[in-house]
């Protein structure tokens, strides 16, 4: 059951119906109760269709940040039969906003992968410890250290993206946030192993891309990915933080938008009502899709893989050039 206090305004009517249905189901039911449940289920279905057919881009942003949305480790614990977390950048400290380690992917015949992920914390204490999923340079450098490890041992990389962005703070700047991100972009572009990235929540700009250069980019349907947050965009271009809905719409940051811009390879349908309605189903959807892409990529010769990745990024961008 979803706590209605933790649900978004627009999904609350649905959540209340669903909770009512569950309550009724728990009662030992006669025929009358069963009929009542069927009626409510039809109403819930209709509400779900109505709400989710008409979601605005800003509502999708809110869903991508839903307090109950599954975070990376909720996926890892379901998608992977084994996971050995590896810590630290060997230079400064371990950044818990990024989780990384060796894993076996169930849907890919339990084969070995290197997993990289942003991890938001659930509850105040963990959220603070993980800096709300906003990495500092040492987080990106931990990821880079393990990318090199993956390259040496020929382990494909799976990245789960979910961050508001790289942390903007004095310490992060002192230790070279820009350089840490930049280096990962270059390294990932040349890694001789398949890379599949999936945006499972928020794809916050360079902070997301820094573990997200890949051969295949997947996005859950209510996740978002953008060059700047709608809040940031609204305050710069509209000079008004309140214009987030316009900013979100103008920036074309939903999974469908990114698919039509050619940036995303596959949009993954979420369980009815969104990923937070069923962690198991969401993890199954992501795991199966990642495995399917890994199967395709792992048969490519290394050169073909790298040329393909280069060509993919090289082709991104729209401009005009007169023919000479």
């Amino acid at each position: 059951m979803i706590d209605p206090r933790q649900s978004l305004d627009f999904e609350r009517p649905l959540v209340e119906l669903e909770n009512k249905i569950e309550e009724l189901k728990r009662l030992a039911g006669g025929e009358l109760l069963a009929a009542e449940i069927r009626l409510l289920e039809r109403r819930a279905q209709r509400a779900r269709e109505e709400i989710f057919a008409a979601l605005t881009p800003w509502q999708k942003v809110l869903l991508s940040r839903h307090p109950l949305r599954p975070y990376a480790m909720d996926y890892v614990s379901r998608m992977c039969s084994e996971f050995i977390e590896l810590h630290g950048d060997r230079a400064f400290r371990d950044d818990e906003a990024i989780v990384a380690g060796l894993a076996r992917l169930r849907a890919w015949d339990n084969q070995s992968i290197l997993l990289l992920a942003h991890q938001k914390g659930r509850g105040t204490k963990e959220a603070v410890r993980r800096n709300f999923g906003m990495p500092r340079p040492e987080g990106y450098r931990k990821a880079r250290r393990l990318m090199d490890l993956a390259a040496r041992f020929r382990l494909p990389i799976v990245a789960l993206i979910d961050t508001p962005g790289a942390f903007p703070g004095i310490d992060a700047e002192e230790r070279g946030q820009a350089e840490a991100i930049a280096k990962n972009l270059e390294v990932m572009a040349g890694l001789p192993v398949p890379i599949v990235a999936a945006v499972i929540g928020e794809g916050g700009s360079g902070g997301a891309l820094a573990i997200g250069v890949c051969d295949r980019l997947l996005m859950l349907e209510f996740s978002v990915y953008s060059v700047i947050s709608p809040e940031g965009c609204a305050s710069i271009l509209w000079k008004d933080q309140g214009k987030v809905d316009q900013a979100a719409a103008q920036m074309k940051m939903t999974a469908e938008d990114l698919k039509s811009l050619g940036v995303v390879d596959e949009v993954l349908r979420e369980p009815p009502g969104g990923a937070h309605h069923s962690y198991d189903e969401a993890a199954m959807i992501v795991g199966d899709a990642v495995a399917r892409h890994l199967r395709e990529l792992s048969v490519l010769p290394q050169e073909g893989l790298l040329d393909g990745r280069y060509a993919k990024y090289r082709a991104l961008g729209r401009f005009e050039e007169p023919r000479s």
């Binding site: 820009a178 972009l185 700009s205 820094a210 401009f319």
Partner: protein, 304 residues
């Protein structure tokens, strides 16, 4: 024949702008003294009193760094489009055409092949006055091509950055330019060719977080503001004032993020010397009597 081989409107525009009538004075942001604008201009927009570096127009930048008659502009015909149909208070399309009219340029970056004190380079410079030097598809494409051209001609790449970061109006495509340019740079590095990144004031956001901080050698002009997040964003996040000098070139040098701070007057010879050393090329013959580390005088060439 113009100083470089592609003649366009911008060269004429800025040649008009350049001639500041005598008797104009401006205050130096560095030391507060009131100075004759002509004196500042003669010193390539540096304060003769304290050395404060003002913004240098691109035309002067080219004149300062590239050997006369060697520069050929590339990819100048690339024009931005409006892939998202973006609109805030104005449409992106309108902003672009207004800027084209105002600056004579199509976008925020210019690419050249040329020589720096006799060293052949694939060279590019941001135009901050065009939407804050922001990187969209055109800028990203030009930079990727600049690295590819260096690889093709087996020469070093030199990029001078001055940018607020990725261009919001092209959305995710702007973000992807970070990956695209970094990938192209990786291939240049793989080919064993050097790349020097020069950070001008300011270099932040997606440009800092990609090729600008990826130089084999990274240098900055004195006082240049360089960082991932802009100072305002950081102040809002941590809710405290930033220390003086934060994110300036001197701060970056102290924290080990750049190789050197190079004053404008020495930039050309510094680049040429370093590129020769890196490529194991012999040092040039001993300097002629007239040669010094100070600025070359502004050539009195007509730009038409």
């Amino acid at each position: 024949m113009s100083w470089w081989s592609r003649k366009n409107k911008a060269t004429e525009l800025s040649s008009e702008k350049r001639s500041v009538p005598s008797g104009l004075f401006q205050m130096c942001e560095g030391c507060g003294s009131t100075l004759d604008s002509q004196l500042i201009e003669a010193a390539y927009m540096c304060c003769p009193q304290c050395g404060h570096h003002f913004t240098l127009p691109t035309e002067d930048r080219l004149r300062l760094l590239l050997d006369e008659g060697t520069a050929v502009e590339h990819d100048a015909e690339l024009s931005p489009v409006d892939p998202l149909g973006f609109r805030d208070s104005k449409t992106y399309a309108d902003r672009l055409s207004a800027l084209k009219k105002k600056t004579g340029q199509r976008d925020a970056f210019r690419s050249f092949m040329g020589h720096i004190d006799g060293v052949a380079v694939s060279f590019g410079v941001f135009q901050f006055e065009f939407m804050g030097g922001s990187m969209g598809s055109v800028v990203g494409e030009k930079i990727a091509r600049l690295y590819e051209r260096a690889r093709e001609h087996r020469c070093p790449a030199v990029v001078l950055s001055a940018s607020g970061g990725a261009r919001m109006q092209e959305g995710i495509l702007s973000l992807m330019q970070m990956a695209k340019t970094s990938a192209a740079l990786g291939r240049l590095r793989g080919a064993g060719l050097p790349y020097i990144s020069v950070l001008l004031n300011p270099t932040t956001g997606g440009v800092a977080a990609s090729f600008a901080m990826l130089g084999d050698i990274i240098i900055a002009e004195p006082g240049a503001m360089v960082g991932f997040a802009g100072p305002r964003v950081i102040e809002q996040t941590i809710r405290q004032k930033l220390p003086p000098g934060f994110q300036r070139a001197e701060f970056l040098l102290e924290h080990g993020m750049i190789d050197a701070i190079v004053p404008r007057a020495e930039l050309k010879s510094w680049l040429a010397t370093t590129l020769r050393l890196l490529q194991k090329q012999p040092a040039p013959p001993p300097p002629a009597a007239s040669r010094s580390s100070s600025f070359p005088s502004l050539p009195k060439v007509s730009l038409t």
